[in-house]
């Protein structure tokens, strides 16, 4: 039983990338979005507004930090294992250690790389840039944000787009890891 419940170091990094950092980012979104949505001068008392500001700052910085860690671990640690080139003459049955080539070896699974992985590896990078901008504005403008609806609107839009980018990257990451796991 014990031998079945082990992970290789590559699997640990992949789990950290997707299940800890990426999933943490997605979870932090709902709290940040609600804090931003309800941070309106006409809806809250000054005490309520102060609590909202704290939640927004905490949530948005958590999103930004988790997004950066996710893309950095993904791009510079996990992705090189995914795209590693097999030695010339490697039998198709031995492509298990080379996920990209395992997927592209068959027309039935090639789209998981040519569409899924290609989209994931690019769109994921937009999330930390947008989340960082929102976190910086939420911190710097915390006292005036409740009275600036235009600023809140665009921040909420960017936060939502950032979430969408992470959802696309996360979903394709989970599916690709099911068909061709990094081991």
């Amino acid at each position: 039983m014990n031998s079945l419940m082990t992970l290789t170091s590559k699997e640990y990094w992949t789990a950290l990338h997707g299940m800890v950092l990426g999933a943490g980012f997605l979870l932090a979104f709902s709290g940040s979005a609600i804090s931003l949505w309800t941070l309106r001068a006409e809806w809250t008392t000054s005490a309520g507004s102060a609590a909202n500001q704290r939640h927004l700052i905490l949530g948005s910085w958590a999103m930004a930090l988790l997004a950066w860690l996710t893309v950095l671990v993904g791009t510079f640690i996990v992705y090189p294992w995914y795209r590693a080139t097999p030695p010339v003459g490697t039998e198709p049955s031995a492509l298990v250690a080379y996920p990209k080539y395992r997927l592209t070896a068959s027309p039935d699974t090639a789209d998981w790389h040519t569409f899924g992985m290609e989209w994931k590896e690019h769109i994921g990078w937009l999330a930390p840039i947008l989340a960082t901008a929102v976190a910086v504005v939420a911190t710097r403008n915390r006292r005036t944000l409740a009275t600036q609806p235009r600023l809140r609107q665009i921040m909420l839009m960017l936060l939502t787009i950032s979430f969408f980018c992470a959802v696309v990257a996360g979903l394709f990451g989970a599916f690709i890891n099911k068909f061709a796991p990094v081991r």
Partner: protein, 123 residues
């Protein structure tokens, strides 16, 4: 008749006309960074030489340079806009929102594989 935004800052002890330039600098520069990522993605796909020059970290391929150059452009544009807009109150917020959304949506399209593969080199 255009809807006017009601400034109720005074009711919360916040001086009216509070500078917002730094906030818009942060938001617009993030959109510029995303757009730069989209442009770098298309350039990387369209030319083998450019793809090679963006290969900053060989194990990750050109993605390392695409991301690195976009982050550099984002930070430079952020610093530049912050220096220009520091202490200013920008009035054209709707225009700024439109520009930011245009850049971000353009970057979403540019990073969508069926779109950027239109520019892919055929070698």
């Amino acid at each position: 008749m255009e809807e006017k935004e009601l400034d109720i800052s005074f009711a919360f002890g916040i001086p009216t006309g509070t500078p917002n330039g730094l906030a818009w600098a942060a938001l617009l520069s993030s959109a510029i960074g995303c757009a730069a990522f989209g442009v770098a993605t298309i350039l990387s796909e369209s030319s083998a030489n450019l793809s090679q020059s963006l290969n900053w970290y060989r194990p990750s391929g050109s993605l390392s340079g695409v991301a690195g150059s976009a982050v550099a452009i984002w930070l430079v544009s952020w610093i530049t806009l912050a220096l220009i807009w520091k202490g200013r109150r920008l009035q054209h917020e709707r225009t700024l929102i439109a520009v930011i959304l245009f850049l971000v949506l353009a970057s979403l399209i540019a990073t969508f594989p069926p779109f950027y593969e239109i520019f892919a080199r055929h070698s």
